[in-house]
């Protein structure tokens, strides 16, 4: 394995993070807060380590799948570790494990918090917390590829490890240009949301941080009561729609920007995504209308909550923990599924669910008629058998990771519903769970060990298991 290239790339990421931390540092100057020292110290530490590890360019620039995975996994862990420092040094989250959990939750766009009193945090820290969502949403290595003038020719291995979905394609022939297009779309959509929220009367600061949290499908709010605290139908509709927008495969926006709207609208994944969202909204709204609220509020909360959960954002407009079991059951299923591949959302991804369903149907048919041969098609194109197999393995690993973590976290002794949904919510990068860890409460009650396990779960979920799991595989570190 080429250790030098791994160190070199991780060093570059730390330098990028140092540069990004300048923004909240400026914020702390503007608002005159006592966090400037914390940010400055973190930036200095990042810059020092980054400069040392990028001091000399590695002689061998060869980079293969293994190095790609390792670069991504180690970068995300280091990034979260250093990103947690401002919270610890400034003393607002004195415990390093708590701060680490909070930062991982930010970068992985989960949005689970250990803070019960969010509003008392200084604005610069709140900004940093939400900014981590925005960075983590599209991926920091993709960001690095976008800003580098020339990418190594095998950087595809890095992109593949960080961008979610069963297959990763490029938009244009050069990786750097593809990454720039993705970030361009991302920035434009974020800017539109900021403007719309601000136009609706939300304060500028809140508009920005809520838009960051929506864009990355994160879910960190700046009010204790999340979006419910604004008590604004307009804000809920804007955020609700934008969450859905950020849950769509970004390749489709590229197609639209090129003028091939028809081709974009033909995407089978989009049809399933919108169909399932509509169906869930209708069922939940009817369920709520017959039990809890009147019909208008039912649709309002059903829409916002479905949009928030399916895109794995995790904002709440109401405490859905108090909803009837059918509605909660649908939300848990949506937690599994998540958003579209190539979006900023987490979960299994809609495209994988489609392949799982089609594969399942095919194998049923094959059981009845063992000689039948059938290929699985998505968007009228045959899906390679290796990808189908990969999707099934991914689905199984996803469940194994959730079950194993549940077992470990259950040491803390919370109810099965609370434990299971908390773990699911972390692996799928959503934020709130149900029961003890519903939208109205937080994750502070977990033991330090459980918080560490959940942090690993969040990273594993964001990076789609393999990059994090290989860190624990002996073959990765063996010299053979």
């Amino acid at each position: 394995m080429n250790h030098r290239i791994v160190t070199y790339n991780v060093g570059r990421i730390l330098l990028v993070e140092a540069a990004l931390l300048v923004l909240p540092a400026i914020g702390s100057i503007i608002y005159g807060e006592d966090t400037l020292f914390a940010f400055a110290l973190t930036i200095a530490a990042l810059a020092a380590i980054g400069l040392i590890s990028t001091h000399s360019k590695p002689e061998k620039t060869s980079l293969y799948a293994k190095e790609g995975y390792l670069i991504v996994a180690i970068s995300w862990i280091m990034m979260s570790l250093f990103g947690a420092l401002p919270f610890v040094i400034s003393g607002y989250i004195p415990n390093l494990i708590d701060a680490f959990f909070e930062t991982v939750s930010g970068f992985t766009t989960t949005g689970s918090t250990i803070l019960s009193e969010i509003e008392s945090l200084p604005k610069s820290l709140l900004f940093w917390r939400s900014f981590t969502h925005w960075i983590g949403g599209m991926g920091i290595l993709v960001f690095m590829i976008a800003i580098m003038p020339k990418t190594e020719r095998t950087a595809m291995h890095i992109m593949r490890a960080e961008v979610p979905g069963p297959t990763v394609g490029k938009l244009v022939s050069k990786l750097g240009a593809s990454a720039r297009i993705l970030y361009g779309i991302y920035c434009v959509l974020t800017a539109i949301e900021i403007i719309l929220l601000f136009a609706g009367g939300m304060p500028m600061f809140d508009s920005i941080v809520n838009s960051f949290a929506t864009a990355g499908t994160g879910g960190f709010a700046v009010l204790n009561n999340s979006i419910e605290g604004y008590n604004s139908l307009y804000a809920e509709i804007v955020i609700g729609i934008f969450m859905l927008i950020f849950g769509v495969n970004f390749n489709l926006y590229y197609l639209i920007s090129k003028g091939s709207i028809k081709q974009a609208l033909k995407s089978e994944e989009l049809h399933w995504y919108l169909g399932l969202v509509t169906a869930s909204v209708v069922v939940i709204a009817l369920n709520l209308a017959t039990t809890t609220y009147h019909i208008g509020d039912s649709f309002r909360h059903a829409f916002f909550q479905v949009s928030s959960i399916v895109t794995t954002t995790g904002f709440s407009s109401i405490d859905f923990n108090k909803w009837p079991v059918l509605s909660k059951g649908i939300l848990v299923l949506l937690m599994f599924m998540g958003a579209c591949a190539g979006s900023t959302g987490g979960g299994l991804k809609v495209s994988r669910v489609i392949i799982l369903f089609k594969g399942f149907a095919r194998d049923l048919k094959k059981a009845l008629n063992p000689r039948s041969v059938e290929t699985i098609k998505v968007d009228k194109k045959t899906v390679d058998e290796n990808i189908v197999k990969g999707v099934f393995v991914f689905g199984a690993s996803y469940i194994i990771v959730i079950l194993a973590s549940c077992l470990i976290v259950s040491i803390d002794g919370f109810s099965l519903e609370s434990t299971f949904t908390a773990v699911l919510s972390c692996v799928s990068n959503i934020g709130p769970g149900l029961g003890h860890f519903g939208p109205a409460s937080n994750f502070a009650d977990f033991s330090a060990f459980s918080k560490l396990i959940l942090s690993i779960d969040m990273l594993a979920g964001r990076l789609e298991l393999i990059p994090i799991l290989i860190l624990f595989a002996p073959a990765t570190w063996s010299r053979k």
Binding site: A65, T151, R153, T154, A155, M156, H157, S173, L175
Partner: protein, 452 residues
């Protein structure tokens, strides 16, 4: 520049590598999924799996807006069809590989009537390069500029060479040939030498000059080889066919050994009588002895298998055959140098040099100094490029000592009205001169790129 490369065989891969390192936007198309996957993993390019002559595949590859399509699949017909379709869809330039000898005679028709801009025939070009070396066997490899007026020859320094441990500036004291040493390869490194550079044993030097002066140089340094009269060719493929036709009317005795009897008959129909065709396994040492290997001046190994070519060549060298040439498909120059084989020719490299030159010229179509010739030497790390000085150039009539040239770059020679000048500090460039530039590690597209 948006370039589509259809077919990822050996040539397709070589082109993908060369052109993607030059920074072009490349889309590769191949029928096989695995091949597309491995290309996309190895280079910064986009891959599409499908038939290159299928409209929808070409559409997806962006043929409507592409600047150039290069069709290098195994099938000539598919390549031609692919170019025709892409041209109709809007691709500006098309290059097709056509290598069947039946079509080789109609390249002019393909170009002028069907509108394919360039026809590449790697086998013919390889045979052409080999025939040039056979005519001037002292050089390990030979490239020519300015319609053959000037040549670059590569020579290995053996221990008995009087130039060993001599600095470049002292060479004129020992040897009276008017040549320039423009590049030196030492192990894995390449130098563009300055006057203080000292030559060592086993260096491979590239020298520029006219043929007569090169001959003088070779004679005085003891690497001169006698004129080749008898040539033995092992393997009767397309290159062998082209090489035999190129050498047939030069009065040389050619003996061609081919293992397949049917192919032997075909070759005998196609070729003139001065080629002796032998049916047998040319890699078998007994057959080589029987056919008089020791009487041969040159052996050319052209079988389809690299390993056999290399082994036959080593055997021939050990038997004292004066000039041995080896065709190798999988090109890894450093390893082959260690084995000690002197002249290695690879059809992929020959063809991709031609295509790269076309691409550079196309990319530089806004520039005005037209690139005439481009050779990649020493495994592609050194380039020798020939330009014509344009009429509106700013840098004419300025003495070289007053111009700031880039480091690791050499103006090897200037050809003015058919006269050859090896420039020194007081020389100047004039309009319409032919200028040959040698550079390492840099891409030169226009003559004005050479200045700081």
């Amino acid at each position: 520049m948006h370039i589509i490369i259809v077919g990822q065989g050996k040539l397709g891969m070589t082109l993908t590598k060369m052109l993607s390192t030059e920074g072009h936007d490349i889309v590769v198309v191949d029928k096989l999924d695995e091949v597309v996957d491995s290309t996309v993993n190895a280079y910064d390019v986009m891959g599409i799996c499908g038939n290159g002559a299928d409209c929808s595949v070409l559409q997806e590859a962006g043929a409507a807006k592409a600047k150039l399509i290069i069709a290098v699949t195994a099938s000539d017909e598919l390549n031609i069809l692919c170019c025709l379709i892409a041209k109709r869809m809007g691709t500006e330039h098309t290059i097709a590989r056509v290598r069947n000898p039946d079509y080789a005679k109609q390249t002019h028709f393909l170009r002028s009537e069907l509108g394919i801009n360039m026809i590449v025939n790697p086998e013919y070009e390889t045979a052409n390069e080999m025939s040039r070396i056979i005519r001037f066997p002292s050089a390990a490899n030979l490239d020519s500029f300015a319609r053959g007026k000037i040549e670059i020859a590569r020579v290995r320094m053996h221990s008995d060479n009087p130039l060993c441990d001599v600095a470049i500036k002292d060479i004129r004291k020992k040897i009276r040939a008017v040549v320039i040493i423009c590049a030196v390869q030492r192990n894995d490194e390449v130098f563009i030498p300055s006057g203080d550079f000292v030559l060592r044993r086993d260096d491979i030097i590239s020298i520029t000059g006219v043929r007569a002066e090169l001959s003088v140089f070779m004679k005085q340094t003891g690497v001169y080889k006698q004129k080749i009269k008898n040539v033995m060719i092992i393997g009767g493929g397309r290159i062998a066919y082209y090489l035999s036709t190129l050498l047939a009317d030069t009065g040389r005795n050619i003996k061609l050994i081919e293992i397949n009897e049917k192919r032997c008959r075909e070759m005998s129909e196609l070729l003139t009588d001065d080629v002796t065709i032998i049916h047998g396994d040319g890699t078998d040492q007994d057959i080589l002895e029987e056919q008089g290997l020791d009487r041969q001046d040159a052996l050319v190994a052209l079988t389809g298998i690299d390993e056999e070519n290399i082994i036959v060549s080593m055997y021939a060298e050990s038997k004292g055959v004066n000039k041995v040439m080896t065709k190798v498909n999988r090109h890894s120059s450093s390893l082959l140098n260690e084995i000690g084989l002197e002249t290695i020719v690879s059809p992929q490299i020959v063809a991709s040099n031609l295509v790269t030159r076309y691409v550079r010229a196309l990319h530089n179509s806004d520039g005005n100094s037209s690139m005439q010739t481009l050779y990649k030497l020493v495994g592609g790390r050194v380039e020798a490029v020939e330009f014509i000085v344009p009429d509106d150039a700013q840098y004419t009539d300025i003495q070289f000592k007053d111009l700031q040239l880039l480091p690791n770059l050499l103006i090897a020679c200037i050809i003015r009205n058919g006269k050859i000048i090896f420039p020194c500090g007081s020389d100047v460039m004039k309009k319409k001169d032919s200028v040959i530039i040698i550079t390492a590690g840099r891409i030169i597209e226009d003559l004005h790129d050479i200045f700081m």
